[in-house]
């Protein structure tokens, strides 16, 4: 990653290009920190674990889980408000959190796999 901007800068023959690229990168990072509601957070299922295991979103946010394991997994709310079908490798499941609250969930096939979505205004 650190070599890429330098390469681009040289290729385009100027310091301006490098600065523009860095600026673009920084503004991208800033945007993701300040306005999470505009994103669709992704949660990866890898090696029988949810990553990130805990996230905070605003109401109305759609969250997408993707299974990267060779073993099927499910997403099930602890209170059963949402439940995915079994997700094989590369299958995705999405759920939109409409209201505030703390939503614990787990994989019904491997109940030691747990995660939580905090929904806050």
């Amino acid at each position: 990653m650190t070599t890429s901007p330098n390469y681009n800068a040289r290729a385009h023959g100027g310091l301006a290009a490098l600065l523009a690229l860095l600026l673009a990168l920084l503004s991208g990072i800033a945007a993701s920190v300040e306005t999470p509601s505009t994103d669709t957070p992704s949660i990866d299922i890898t090696k029988f674990a949810f990553a990130p295991k805990e996230i905070t979103v605003v109401p109305g946010t759609k969250v997408i889980w993707t299974n990267h394991d060779e073993t099927p997994h499910t997403i099930s709310a602890a209170d059963k408000t949402f439940l995915s079908k079994a997700m094989d490798t590369d299958d995705r499941y999405e759920y939109t959190f409409a209201s505030e609250g703390d939503f614990s969930y787990f994989c019904t096939l491997h109940p030691f796999m747990t995660g939580i979505v905090h929904v806050r205004k």
């Binding site: 394991d69 060779e70 073993t71 079994a86 094989d88 614990s104 491997h110 109940p111």
Partner: protein, 323 residues
């Protein structure tokens, strides 16, 4: 195979039942010891001191297979069907013809109708009249046990637990793949334990018991959910019996535990190996990819033999690669 509704194994008119009762005379009532013997079935004659060598033509023999995961086609085993067929050929070639085949669950990988269909067809390649199964959690995806029971409703009662008598042994199949709760191990549930109590009420304490359940009936490794939370309630009902053998699958490897008269055994898969609990460098119970040529040593079948007149019963685990 007994994958239909027409089986009435409990009928007193069933000749196997009469045979079972006659067979009881051969049991002394002493504890039956199950012996783990390495090697392959055709080495039976060579292991002079092994109990299997003592098996006579009258011995009651059956086979356990497990975790076939029909429908799985990933790197850990791209040829599930080929491996199964080699195992079936081994079973068909056994000198002592098994009376039945027990499948301890995860028949399919994703509970798809076509996977259950393929399973039924392939299981018929084992030339044994009766194949009994219990469901694994992979057989209970999305629609619970609906798809499984369409194909493997052994006593026509639309539930995944049942019992039958054969060869002097009382066989019990249980389901521990429907009650998964967050952060805990699976369980059998009160309804099934109540049924078990009722079922055992008619079985004498001198009758050998063989119990099947997919997930281990003892806590092998709680961190990976390798155990059954209320297994102790079921095992308590079995303590008065002189010989109890619990056969499990799920963890794709051979482990055993002996607790008084109760011996618990897990079996190899016929699909792919899983890591040993706490195996260095592996933090999760996913399929283990092994170098080419190694897989056949890590998947396989099990033969169990009841030797009449002997206290010892024999158990032989055979990988599909054996020369």
């Amino acid at each position: 195979m007994t994958a239909s509704n027409d089986s009435k194994p409990d009928s007193p008119a069933d000749p196997t039942r009469r045979k079972a009762l006659n067979c009881l005379a051969a049991w002394s009532g002493a504890a039956v010891v199950w012996t783990m013997v390495g090697g392959v079935p055709r080495a039976l004659g060579a292991t002079g001191s092994g109990p299997v060598a003592a098996a006579s033509a009258r011995a009651f023999t059956f086979v356990q297979i497990s975790d076939t995961h029909f429908g799985f086609h990933k790197d850990a085993n791209p040829d599930i069907v080929g491996g199964f067929r080699r195992a079936a050929a081994d079973i068909n070639a056994l000198a002592q013809k098994p009376a039945l085949v027990l499948h301890t669950g995860d028949v399919t990988h994703l509970s798809k109708p076509e996977e259950f269909g393929q399973a039924k067809e392939l299981l018929q390649e084992i030339r044994i009249d009766r194949v009994h199964t219990v469901p694994g959690e992979h057989d209970a995806l999305d629609d619970g046990l609906t798809g499984y029971l369409k194909n493997f409703d052994h006593d026509g009662k639309s539930r995944a637990w049942y019992s039958f008598d054969q060869g002097g042994v009382h066989f019990i199949g249980l389901s521990n793949v429907l009650n998964f709760k967050m952060g805990t191990m699976t369980s059998l549930g009160d309804e099934q334990i109540a049924w078990l109590k009722q079922d055992l009420a008619r079985v004498s304490h001198s009758t050998p018991i063989v119990m099947l359940a997919h997930i281990p009936m003892w806590t092998v490794y709680a961190q990976w959910g390798w155990g059954t939370a209320d297994a102790d309630q079921a095992l308590a009902l079995l303590r008065p019996y002189g010989s109890v053998t619990v056969l499990n699958g799920h963890i794709h490897q051979v482990l055993q535990k002996v607790e008084g008269n109760i011996a618990l055994h897990t079996a190899m898969s016929l699909a792919y190996p899983l890591p040993t609990p706490g195996q260095e460098g592996i933090g999760e119970p996913g399929p283990v990819k092994v170098p080419a040529g190694e897989l056949g040593k890590l998947i396989g079948t099990r033969q169990l033999t009841v030797v009449r007149g002997k206290h010892e019963l024999a158990l032989v685990d055979t990988p599909i690669d054996h020369t």
